[in-house]
Amino acid sequence: MFHFSNIVRTKGDPKIVEGGPSLKQPADQLARALGWFSIGLGVFELFAPRRVTETLGMEGHETLVRAFGVREILTGIMSLSVEKNAGLWARVGGDGLDAAALLSGLTADNPKKGNIALALLTVGGIAALDYRTAQDTRPQRPPRDARRKLYPRRSGFPKGIESVRTAARQIAALARPNEMKQGDARGVP
């Protein structure tokens, strides 16, 4: 990508000679892939719900498929964002909803129940992937009750705070008579 960027970069600015290790872990890359997959699936569900319901033998549930499509898009966007972990957990929840909806269509009189079984298998596999990725991308922020270093002696004032406050008060006292004179001239009490 930086080769393309170099085209618009000012001539003479430093260019990469050798890349260092990336901060991105495989789980980050997987989260990104799942995010784009989610958006793609969501768009398909949103704009072609009949294709989905026909394939599954669940005609009449187009509105539900559209709603699931919107959910997929939103969780996909979250998975691509800085909050990817929240996005992935939302996807795990969404996988549960998908499975529940599919199970409701797994009736004896559904001629496409074979497709539903296949879809359930796929959802199960993706759910496992979502769950694993969510585990691997857990934020590393320390918990609220973690032991932390405190800095009670870092005032930044080598001569002490009181010395600074006293100096500031003295400067203010010296400045005040001048200000009052200006105030009198303007008729300000």
């Binding site: 600015d13 430093p14 290790p21 901060l23 922020r141 320390p142 080598p158 600074v164």
Partner: protein, 391 residues
């Protein structure tokens, strides 16, 4: 040379890049002795500010030794000079520079056509801070090209360690300007949102400028302890109501002066629904900033008061209570820092031992460990408040 290079969202790498060259007679090349990671670098790390390209070198808090000067530098700098590099690139000659409005220098943004379109008028070029501000390579590197080096430098004396001087490049004057913009009077209560490095400097600046009471708001114990050490009364917004505590501490009148040292990535909490909504909108690019702090400041500030914004905002903020802002007669002052406007005063205060800005440093590591330190700083791990990198 080695440099910390932006490769995309949350991906900074320590790459080997070509050395910078003199491109213009007014350039100088600096061998970096110390540089730092700034809170506003995190906005780039998260890719919340548009205009970064893979391959851009990060960093805008840098100091070092001049190793090469162009023929047009006119003797103001010479090889061997020790300088702090202000994060704003200034020409020193345009109308704005002559007025001391250095951060809106009219000359130095070499991609001003972009800034003109986005902001209406260009602002100064900045080191390592997107192509909206010139796309200049930053100073988290072994060497840095300083354009307009005639004016863009702060000469510093030998004998004072880097750690005390480095922050003249950004966070110290930024905190100072935030406080100065408040026109602090001896009876004033100054409330400061955010106790990161700039917030810490703003606290000390408000004390130096004679505020009667300084109240600092954050949620991290290490930052709150540092704020308290600097003379502030603290509020932990995760366990206390900021509005109620500020009312208590000001006899129900509200602080006269409010300083925002948080900016566009304010903390998101379920108990503050506006922060959740902002985050959701930011995610789908319906809003670029999370302005919870601005809303809260407008609400609590005493009528006739001043709001000073040092935190970085990038674009569009929703649901600002303009009714309260207008009817309470508040004044808002903002701006990237006019670094060189404050340099003489702040350098003197450091030299005289009035303040030692190195108090804020909690981590000093080699440049090669910079990428991991971005994550540590972002996640607030290991009680990290400020990171200094040594190339």
């Amino acid at each position: 040379m080695k440099a910390l290079v932006w490769h995309g969202k949350e991906d900074i790498r320590c790459d080997t890049v070509t050395d910078p060259e003199i491109q213009d007679p007014r350039d100088a090349i600096v061998k970096v002795t110390s540089c730092a990671i700034c809170g506003s670098d995190l906005h780039l790390f998260h890719n919340f500010i548009p205009g970064m390209l893979p391959g851009d070198i990060m960093g805008h808090e840098t100091m070092g030794e001049v190793v090469e000067v162009g023929s047009g530098v006119n003797g103001k700098l010479k090889k061997g000079d020790r300088i702090v590099v202000p994060f704003t690139i200034i020409c020193g000659e345009c109308d704005q520079c002559r007025r001391g409005n250095f951060s809106v220098c009219e000359t130095t943004n070499r991609k001003r056509h972009l800034a003109d379109k986005v902001f209406g008028h260009t602002t100064a070029g900045l080191f390592g801070y997107t192509h909206l501000t010139g796309g200049y390579p930053g100073g988290q590197a072994e060497y840095l090209r300083v354009p307009f080096a005639n004016a863009t430098h702060i000469k510093v004396p030998a004998g004072i360690p880097d750690e005390q001087l480095l922050f003249l490049s950004d966070i110290f004057p930024t905190g100072w300007q935030a406080a100065v913009q408040c026109d602090i009077e001896p009876t004033d209560t100054v409330a400061i949102w955010g106790c990161g490095p700039v917030g810490q400097m703003a606290i000390r600046s408000a004390i130096l400028l004679g505020a009667n009471q300084v109240i600092a708001i954050d949620c991290l114990p290490e930052r709150l302890s540092m704020a308290e050490a600097g003379g502030a009364t603290t509020i932990d917004f995760e366990t206390e109501s900021v509005v109620e505590r500020l009312q208590e501490l000001t006899d129900g009148k509200g602080p006269e002066k409010c300083i925002d040292c948080v900016g566009m990535e304010s903390h998101v909490m379920p108990s503050l629904p506006d922060t959740l909504l902002d985050r959701a909108k930011q995610m789908v690019m319906a809003e670029s900033d999370r302005p919870h702090v601005l809303r809260e400041m407008i609400y609590v500030c005493r009528p006739g008061g001043i709001i000073s914004v040092a935190g970085v905002y990038s674009g569009l903020s929703d649901m600002l209570p303009m009714g309260a802002f207008m009817n309470k007669g508040l004044t808002m002052r903002t701006g990237q820092t006019h670094v060189n406007r404050w340099t003489d005063d702040l350098l003197r205060r450091i030299e005289e031992g009035e303040i030692d800005p190195s108090f804020v440093i909690t981590h000093t590591v080699p440049l090669s460990e910079g990428p991991e330190m971005y994550q540590v700083f972002r996640d607030k791990r290991d009680s990290c408040v400020k990171v200094v990198l040594k190339p």
